[in-house]
Structure formats: C-alpha cells, structure tokens
Symmetry: C2
Subunit: 350 residues, 2 copies
C-alpha cells in the first residue's frame, strides 16, 4: 500500500494538491494501486499551527511515506518572519532531510498548445525535454568561497560519487522515456567539466541501451531554442542546470503547466514549479495542471508506473484542448478542469 504524504501548503497549494489527489484516486480506482494519503502541515500554515514551517509531525510523516506531493508554500503573511522560520527554509530542510540531489524539470509543449510558446509553432511542436539538475553540489556549495575588498571567489567542484549518482538518475529516467541522454558541461575549458564528462561516460557503460551525447553549455542554450524537440533527457550540474532548466521552462509558454520531481536518498518529492499565488487563492480558478502532472511524475518515479502516468498526461492534454482554466483563456474552474481530466482518464482507461 504506497503511502503518499500530502503537503498542500499555502495559497492555491491546497486547491491544486487536492485536484491532483482526485486524479490519483481515479487512477487508483481504475488500476488498483492501493494508494494511502495523509496530509501534513507545511510552510506558512505550519508556522501558524506549530510555530515552525517543517514541524516534527510532518518530518515523521514524510520519512514514513513512499512519496511526497507538495502544493505550494509561502505568501505575504509570512514574509517578515525570521529567516529560520520562513516557509522557504522549510523547503530547504525537507530537501536536505531526504537527500534530494536530483531535480527533474520536464518541459513539454502539449499538442494543441504550441501557440502558447514564445517559439514559432513549427519549432515548439513536439518539444518534450526533461532537464535533470544536480541540486546539492557544484559552485553553489563548493569551498573555498568568499569575498574581500579586492575580490570575490567561488569553487565549482564535483566528486565522483556526486556525478555517478546523478548520471544514474538520468539514465534511469531515459529508460522510462525515449532512451536518450544529453550530458551538458564545459569540458573544453574546465577541468571539472572534463571530470564530469569522463564520469558520465563510465556510468554509461552500465546503460548500453541508452544513447548518450555530450554538449557544451553554450551550444546547449542555443539548441534549446533552435531545435528543442530533438532532446529527451538533459543532465547537468547545479549552476548549468539552474540556467538550462529555467530556459527550458519558458518553452511551453505558461508556468502553470510545469511539474517537477526531486529524487535522492529517501522519499522523493513532487511539486508544481509555480508558487502559491495568494492573489487568486480560494477563488476556485487556479490551474491544477502542474500539480496533476507532478502526480503523474510521482506515478513514474515513485511507483514505477509510467504506463499510468502516460494516461494521466494524455487526459490532461485532452482537458486542456477542451476547456482550460482562465489563465489559459478557458472558462473551467479548478474543479471543472479536474473533472474533465478524470473523465478523459476513464475514457482512455476503458
């Protein structure tokens, strides 16, 4: 019985999280997954109820779960609390507690929604790229680091186990997709890039069924705009991944469409890329697409059911073409939209 820890969070977080839960329950009914759900306080609401963003009850619940589904956290109400009590601090602590070193950010241009992309439709068509960013190493954490009156310095550093484990995540993810990995570095100029490339090549020997190519980061930034549809899984370090995952995220044309997953040593975490949008919270108009697609990622990466995930994605695409939420020019409420997804899911499951 897989246990899902729900962290609905703040703002529109609960609305979109429970929309995703409804879809998961429908999938459960159709495919017999035996899912168990339990919700925990996290973020601003946890500060209000427990005096801290990531209280002990939530810590325990997440460790005992097979997957964590998060909505969104924070809002103006908690912007002025001390840093160690901020909603974002809770997120950092959650990532750390579960050793979440891999951040997965798919950017997919859904069929029929090419017009939303900033790219020409003929370039946007068919884009379905998964950017995997190493999240706990590299220059954001490397020592030595510092600043004096005269200069500033930081160290980009990657160790063999760090590169090996993120490479494995990339090859495993590719096996659930189109069996292609593109590893991005700057091996022509940086020793750390040369080390990265060599290590990825070594791990690749265990995945002969997956095609591997290497690209330099500057060339990759260009490719993501000029021929994005030719890439499947893209894996890279923390800083390049920060840049490239954000760059890729503009391709679908709306932040409301983007799910994410964070994988690592303990319980994997799934959450929309968008924030808590306090301005539209409680109005019933939030777009639950990113949360539902995050639940689809949960099916793939926590429950190893990419077959069901694929059906959920297709159901979402159908609902988006039929009648999306107001942010995408439609008239569906959050509930209407979710109902459409579930109906489409029943159709494809039948």
């Amino acid at each position: 019985m897989p246990k899902i820890a729900l962290l609905p969070g703040d703002g529109i977080g609960p609305e979109v999280t429970y929309a995703a839960v409804d879809v998961l329950k429908a999938a459960d009914q159709a495919f017999g997954l035996g899912l168990e759900f339990e919700a925990f306080p996290f973020g601003g609401n946890a500060i209000d109820a427990h005096g801290e963003p990531f209280p002990e009850v939530t810590q325990r619940g997440c460790l005992e779960a097979d997957a964590i589904l998060l909505g969104a956290i924070g809002g103006p109400k908690w912007d002025n609390v001390p840093r160690h009590l901020r909603a974002e601090t809770g997120l950092l602590a959650l990532r750390k507690a579960h050793g979440l070193f891999a951040n997965l950010r798919p950017a997919k241009v859904l069929p029929g929604l090419e017009h939303l992309s900033p790219l020409k439709p003929e370039i946007a068509r068919g884009v379905d790229v998964l950017v995997i960013r190493e999240l706990t190493g590299g220059i954001y954490f490397g020592e030595p680091r510092g600043m004096s009156e005269a200069e500033g310095w930081n160290t980009e550093r990657y160790s063999k186990p760090e590169v090996e484990r993120i490479a494995r995540v990339a090859f495993e993810a590719a096996r659930k997709r189109r069996n292609q990995v593109c590893s991005v570095d700057k091996a022509n100029v940086l020793e750390v890039g040369e080390f990265w490339r060599k290590t990825v090549d070594e791990v690749h020997r265990y995945y002969p069924d997956v095609a591997l190519e290497h690209q330099y980061v500057d060339a990759m930034a260009m490719h993501l705009i000029t021929r994005p549809s030719r890439f499947d899984v893209v894996v890279t370090g923390n800083i390049f991944g920060d840049i490239l995952s954000d760059l890729a995220s503009v391709l679908p044309g709306s932040l409301g469409l983007l799910p994410s997953a964070s994988l690592g040593e303990k319980t994997p975490l799934f959450e929309p890329v968008h924030g808590s949008a306090p301005d539209i919270a409680g109005k019933g108009i939030a777009n639950p697409t990113a949360a539902i697609l995050s639940a689809a990622m949960l099916l793939t990466h926590a429950l190893n059911r990419s077959d069901i995930a694929k059906r959920v994605e297709n159901a979402v695409t159908a609902a988006l073409s039929a009648n999306p939420t107001p942010d995408l020019g439609g008239k569906a409420s959050t509930q209407d939209f979710t109902r459409q997804v579930i109906e489409a899911l029943d159709r494809v499951a039948a």
Copy 2:
C-alpha cells in the same frame, strides 16, 4: 588619419572583408574620415607564407593601427598542424597582445527579417541587444583548478579592477545606444556575484545618465527568450557571457548577420561571428553582412562615429530587404549586395 589593419584571413574571409572595406571607403568619401587601410597575413595564409599564424609583420601592423578588421580564419588545410601553429592560436595571441578583455556581441533582429528568428515575430520584433562578455577572467582562467581520480575543480574569481573596467565598457557602450545596462550575476547564491554586483554599482556612480538594473543569470536566460526587446546593453562575466551571448545570437535567426567587437588595452578588433566557410569560399556568394556590420562597430567603438555606423546599419537593412545573398533566400552575389549597401548609404548620406 585613422589606420585600419586588415586581416582578411582564410576561406570567405577576404571576400567579406573587402566588401566591408568597400563600404568603409564609401563612408569615407561621404563623410571625410581619411581612413588608411593596410592588409596583413594572419591565420592559415600566414602559416603558408611565414610558417606561423601571427607573424611579426602582422604583430607590428596591428600595434600601429587604430583598429583591426578581421575576416575569418582557418580551414581543413590547417587542421592538422601542431597546436602552437594553429590558426586559432593566432587569434588567442592577437587577443592577448592587445589586452582585449571585453567581447561585444550585438544581436539585432533587423526590420523585415523577423521571420528568420526562432521566436514568434511579435516577440522577435525590435530586438536590439548588445551582450558584453568579460573575456580574460572568471572561471575559465581562475586558480586553483585541476582534476584528480576523485574530483574536478575550477575557481570563479573576479577582482575589483577586472569588474570595474568591463563595467566601464558597458556604460560607455550604453551611452552610444539607449542608455540602459543590465548586469547579470548570481549574487543571491555566489559571493563572486555579490562582489560583481557591488562593484558594478560603484562604477555606476560615474554614469548617472545610464539606467542600471541587475538580473540573475537564470532569470536572464528566460528574459532573453520571453521579452528580449526590452534589453539594451547586457554585461556579465566570462562563463555567463559565453552562454548568454550564444543564446542571444540565435535571435536574429542567421549566423551570417552577426558582427562582434573586442575592446581592451590596445587596438580594438572587429570581426564577424561566423567562420571561414571553406565550402563556399571563392564562389562570390558569401554574405558580407556580418563583416559590414563589424565595420559599423569599428566606426562606433574605434572612431567614435556612431552617427555614420547608424547609417551603415540602415543601408544594410535596406539591402537585406531588397535582395539578400542566397543564404537568406536572395539572389545577390557578395558584390551585388555590397553595391546595394553602398547605394543605400549614398542615399541616406545625401
């Protein structure tokens, strides 16, 4: 009498360089600049004639000149010579001899050519951004650096004088354009970014007439695709500049349109971004636009005549709309196209 050292180079280099010279001579005739031109061997042709890519006669000629106009160098003929004799080694030596620490890469979507861009026409329209990349510091050169069996490491490091001088280049360039600078860093995570930002702010005090904003590199990658027309001058360090200048370079939709300038301690260098294209060399069909626009940058940055540069740009735009070279779907030969530019220049000069 400003002296221009010509380094026509290899492949299509001479064809496009002399096209640009013809345009400069026409501008000279119209505006009385008193230009003097002298050509020197450089690159592959210098290896053939002198046994080295950057021979002494060229070194002297460049040091005595007020500006260097380079075509393109290299080709399969010289790919297998020892590294210290390679054409590219000549370019590195040239940059070093003149202390060229600032690389200027404009990306302009020319009116009427929006359809070439990978972006939707309504987003591409009006894009006119100049990315200024620090070229001799940062992580590509920082110590300590290295690789062991267990890890790889490089150091991103910037000193105060390094940041100050590139910031000055950016503010000066903005004064010749639309008076806006966007400085890009990762100050929210990296000390070197915090140092960069602080130093740029200090230099900004001497340029109160120029508007300054700061962006994080990941956000900037997104902005360059979603609202590129809102930026004027973008200045950043070596690695971020490598990524962002290449990203911006795809916006106009053709490499054949992109000029560049390298500024520093001694003679400034102007050259197209494209290579020597040996496959079409000598056929008279090379697109000289990038070389002519490089000559326009020479007018702005070496001779302080952005007024004439603007006219050259307008003449190029007119010629591109009327009848471009075959790479852009037109029928003009290199010479036809150059003649069109000169005629348009006479019209706007009259």
